[in-house]
Symmetry: C2
Subunit: 129 residues, 2 copies
């Protein structure tokens, strides 16, 4: 029904990788996966929906936390096998409380990845209430 | 040998998604995949290496075009199943001549994705000489 979506290349599981980026400062917020239904829901509602591989179902990003991602632009790449969505992020994207899921940096010689961000919210307060 | 790499989660094919971002302006340049060897080579050389699924081998990004990606920071996400590398990009990332592979935007109601970037180089001149 939507010829632009027909041209996207989904993988053997019917999924396409999604990168979500903050439209205001360019920060990469998270990576997830979408199936065709997730893209259609995202376009129809203006809020990012993903296909949750762990839960095996469509998921509205922010459905537990109310930290929604408001769609500003939807892009795809040269091969049309990745989707990039620029969003306005409510509060923070990461379920661990960070603005971005990419809060760990490689430190040469270290035993563990280094946390390079500070928390934007307390996940215990948001998810357990 | 490297405890930080030991903590990364590779998929059933031994791969982990890689997002490459321009360190200067935050532009998402491309998505690719790495195996453990690609990450080790990237860390050892300071230039992004990927695992090319189409060619079935390790690939130095820019090996044909000399458009290398110089590593400035390597990050991973909360689940440690995605890698994000911030780079200084030589010339452009996309083999179609665009600075970023994400040069197509969704246009509501249109038949085709809209090209929203201009070419940084002529791919015919770079790849066929």
């Amino acid at each position: 029904m939507d010829p632009q979506l027909d041209k996207l290349k989904f993988d053997r599981d019917g999924l396409i990788p999604l990168i979500v980026q903050d439209v205001d400062n360019g920060e990469v917020l998270m990576m997830a996966y979408m199936n065709r239904e997730a893209i259609e829901k995202t376009l129809a509602t203006g809020k990012v929906h993903t296909y949750s591989r762990s839960r095996g179902r469509l998921a509205l990003k922010g459905e537990s936390s109310a930290h929604f991602q408001h769609v500003k632009q939807v892009l795809t790449d040269c091969d049309r096998d990745v989707v990039l969505i620029k969003v306005v992020q409510d509060v923070a994207a990461c379920h661990e409380g960070y603005r971005s899921c990419f809060f760990r940096a490689y430190e040469p010689g270290a035993a563990e990845w280094k946390t390079v961000a500070t928390k934007a919210f307390d996940p215990d307060a948001v998810y357990k209430k």
